[in-house]
């Protein structure tokens, strides 16, 4: 009679003991092997300070280090940690940042890295010499000066305190180059590769592949785990899926679509693992404030009230790259809007019948009770633009608007937005780190990307204040005011749905964590293969 009771007890004890034991051997990083991954694009040039595409970051980031980096294991992609900086201090007035530079870091040519190299690289980013571009210079307007008082210290002085400074210094674009080379030829890095990263450059065969091999002198002893990596350039998405399915490639770091994910999971079963995250890319709707009736905020509000974002999320996430209903920041990140707050914004409430009744009332009040016709311009890219455009038109028709979609070829789209040649148009943005200072400047009145041409000094002031608010709680409060003004009170733009990043990869790829940005976490020093 006693034995049946004993059996489950023994099993439970055995399970508890098993769970208390160290992780199985395969969870410990294993050295060796070559990581093969697909890159849907290719670097046009080699200088990250001057380029704008993930096609450069994915194959080339493993060759370089940055002053700070985003913690490779932080799923929000918002936690800065030291890369070349061993530690740092911030003065009480928050105007001076002093970084202690690691000793023993070597460039791939064998020379030692010092703070002089860090300063030269930041000089190039902040004040590029004539004929050299710096695409993200504008993100560092708070910096008054940079200095390297000795080989081990790099000092940044600010004009005013800036909440985002540390995270901004973890930018994946700010590769540290060798000062002597930059002094001789500031264009050298446009066509050559030489950094301090975990992998050395081997070859780039144009249109085909990029190869890197382990840097045995990497400063973080024991890393990298991989012997090398091979990035294969494949632009066709079906061929990318086939490459993973046929195990010719192990991962594609940008994203696959949900149907592509499903086909891989079905074909490869336990051999595939899937990581997903809200993506720091969003499609917005720009409404031209100088064209009637979109100069009337009641009309703009009616347009956002018509959208059933929650139902749209459910339907569209099955077929394209969008999913989360979000405000001005990616859900799950430090300054994201809490769901309870989000629901208070126009067009974010769950009672869609009530929202649409309110939209119709506003249209009537604005003098267009029977609705009106307009053309919605969309970018000629299948995903997610096409399904999102169709969804928007359907939503607007439900409040009596007659909308025609005009698809504009992708390369002609941005000039069209800049010319203001639209009534309502799809807008878009992708960030490299989720941070209000990086994501929101486009909404300031004098921004080059303020395509709807709104003029709002309140927005400008709130943007400026949030950036200088060094207390996170105070900053959150200002951001919520900014969001309410932008999306609810004035409805200068509309957010549709947040993109959703889906990275299926062979299960043997370990040590890589998805973040909301496809520009982050590509240095590959933590990645290893379990078999």
């Amino acid at each position: 009679m006693r034995r049946p009771i004993l059996v489950p007890i023994v099993l439970v004890v055995a399970l508890l003991l098993a769970s208390a034991l160290p992780a199985p051997a395969q969870d410990k990083p294993r050295s060796g092997g070559e990581l093969v991954f697909v890159v849907p694009s290719e670097p046009p040039g080699y200088d990250a300070h001057q380029e704008e595409t993930f096609g450069l970051i994915h194959p080339m980031a493993p060759h370089y280090s940055t002053l700070l980096r985003v913690d490779p294991f932080d799923k929000t992609g918002t936690k800065p940690v030291g890369d070349l900086a061993e530690s740092w201090t911030i003065s009480k007035d928050q105007l001076t940042y002093t970084f202690k530079i690691r000793k023993g870091v070597k460039f791939h040519d064998g020379s030692e890295l010092t703070a002089k190299d860090v300063k030269a690289s930041y000089d190039k980013i902040l004040n590029p010499p004539a004929g050299v571009k710096s695409l993200r210079k504008v993100a560092y307007t708070a910096i008054a000066s940079v200095d390297a008082p000795d080989a081990g210290a790099f000092v940044i002085k600010l004009k005013y305190p800036e909440a985002s400074m540390l995270l901004n210094l973890a930018s994946p674009w700010n590769w540290i180059y060798k000062a002597d080379i930059l002094a001789k030829d500031p264009h050298w890095y446009e066509k050559n590769v030489m950094g301090t990263g975990a992998f050395k450059f081997v070859e780039h065969v144009k249109g085909s592949h990029w190869v890197g091999k382990k840097n045995p002198d990497y400063w973080d002893k024991g890393k990298p785990y991989l012997d090398g990596y091979r990035a294969i350039f494949i632009s066709n998405s079906a061929a990318q899926v086939a490459a993973v399915r046929g195990e010719r490639a192990m991962i594609q770091f940008r994203s696959f679509s949900p149907p592509e994910r499903d086909s891989l999971v079905q074909a490869l079963g336990p051999k595939i693992a899937v990581q997903e995250s809200a993506w720091d890319c969003a499609n917005l709707v720009a409404m031209h404030h100088e064209k009637k009736p979109f100069d009337d905020k009641r009309v703009r509000r009616a347009l956002t009230l018509a959208l059933d974002r929650y139902a749209g999320s459910q339907a569209l996430s099955k077929i394209t790259l969008v999913k989360d209903v979000a405000g001005i920041q990616v859900p799950g990140t430090p300054y994201a809007t809490p769901p309870a707050e989000l629901e208070k914004l126009a067009g974010y409430g769950h009672d869609i019948a009530k929202n649409r009744a309110e939209a119709k009332r506003l249209l009537k009040e604005a003098g267009v009770p029977d609705g009106f016709a307009f053309t919605f311009k969309n970018r000629g890219i299948p995903h997610p633009y096409e399904p999102l455009g169709i969804w928007l038109i359907d939503q607007w028709r439900q409040i009596g608007l007659n909308v025609k979609m005009e698809v504009i070829e992708a390369s002609a789209y941005h000039p069209m937005l800049k010319r203001g040649d639209f009534e309502v148009a799809m807008d878009f943005q992708c960030g490299f780190i989720v941070e209000p200072d990086l994501d929101l400047p486009r909404f300031v009145s004098n921004s080059d990307a303020n395509f709807g041409r709104h003029k709002d000094t309140v927005i400008d002031d709130l943007f400026s204040r949030q950036g200088r608010a060094t207390d996170p709680d105070e900053r959150k409060k200002i951001l919520r005011q900014f969001e309410k003004r932008l999306l609810d009170e004035e409805v200068h733009v509309m957010y549709t749905l947040q993109w959703h990043r889906v990275v299926p990869h062979l299960a043997k790829v370990k040590g890589w964590t998805i973040t909301p940005s496809h520009y982050l976490n590509n240095q590959l020093d933590t990645v290893w293969l379990s078999e």
Partner: protein
């Protein structure tokens, strides 16, 4: 003959100039430019100052006639300039891709000829028998199926049935022939089959026509062996239209396998064409069009010479 050939050769120059002019103007009609695409991509918010600076650097701020003059004088010196997208010399962009496309074109042509000539001759000799019908069905199937579709089916079969995929990266034949053929044999078969379908039908109809000629009847009356009649008298004369089809198709394959190259992820001229258009890389696109136009013109020229060799009745003046 020599005079004619020199004249034909010299005529290539105005043809190429015409191609250059039309290409140069047409691609500038397409909206958008390389600078917009490169710097205003995903994030969509690049300062106008940077865009203007970059346009000035690559010469897009100059009047169109100035740009054409600068480019065409370079072409006259065989200097096609640098890619507007990558900044690399055009020849560096093209040479690896050209090697692959040329090899694929040769392999597909070999597959096509190896299938088309025996099948076409057989169908003509066995006209209206089951063999003829089988060959006709085989060739009509080839004409009906686009090579990229056949390629997709081949890849799916390899993936699903054999859990295998051809290598994704091109290895030159002289480096590793096995790896090279493992990658290129599949697209060569897909393209070669469609290509053979056209040539098979052409061979069949040309053979049928020749076999009804008086001189074949005379050869038969003289008691000449069937094998000799076919190889020495019929086939050689039937080859003129077949040669035209094969040669033109060969020239097309150099730059025309746009979709097939994407399906098999081949780093060839067709894929480079697509990228050049997508990036609005004017200089690269102009060079590629000139390359393909040059291939067509040279193939045509060689065909004219081959005609004279195949049919001595043809005299050029």
């Amino acid at each position: 003959m020599h005079k004619y050939l020199v004249k034909r050769f010299l005529l290539m120059l105005p043809t190429l100039f015409g191609v250059a002019l039309v290409t140069f103007l047409l691609i500038r009609v397409i909206p958008g430019d390389v600078v917009e695409l490169r710097y205003a991509g995903d994030r969509g918010a690049v300062a106008q100052e940077i865009l203007d600076q970059e346009r000035a650097r690559i010469g897009l701020d100059k009047p169109v006639w100035h740009q054409f003059l600068a480019w065409i004088t370079g072409v006259a010196r065989l200097d096609f300039g640098t890619s507007m997208w990558t900044g690399a010399p055009i020849w560096d962009e093209i040479k690896l891709r050209f090697t692959l496309s040329l090899q694929l074109a040769v392999m597909a042509t070999l597959v096509a000829v190896a299938l088309a000539i025996p099948l076409g001759v057989l169908a003509a000799l066995k006209q209206d028998t089951w063999i003829d019908y089988a060959v006709r069905i085989f060739s009509i199937a080839g004409l009906s199926m686009p090579s990229f579709w056949l390629g997709i089916v081949m890849i799916l079969v390899m993936l699903v049935a054999f859990k295998w995929l051809p290598p994704m990266v091109y290895t030159p034949f002289w480096v590793n022939p096995v790896q090279n053929l493992a990658q290129l044999i599949w697209p060569a078969l897909a393209v070669g089959y469609r290509y053979s379908a056209v040539a098979t039908r052409m061979t069949r109809s040309a053979m049928l026509e020749v076999l009804r000629e008086d001189y074949i009847r005379t050869a038969r009356a003289k008691g000449l062996m069937q094998k000799l009649i076919l190889s020495r008298h019929a086939l050689k004369n039937a080859m003129l239209p077949v040669l035209t089809v094969v040669a033109l198709e060969f020239a097309f394959l150099i730059g025309g396998l746009v979709v097939t190259e994407q399906v098999f992820n081949l780093n060839g001229i067709g894929l480079l064409f697509v990228q050049a258009v997508a990036h609005r890389d004017y200089t690269l696109l102009q060079a590629l069009v000139m390359l393909v136009a040059g291939a067509f013109i040279i193939v045509n020229f060689l065909m004219d010479i081959a005609y004279a060799w195949l049919d001595p009745r043809i005299k050029y003046r």
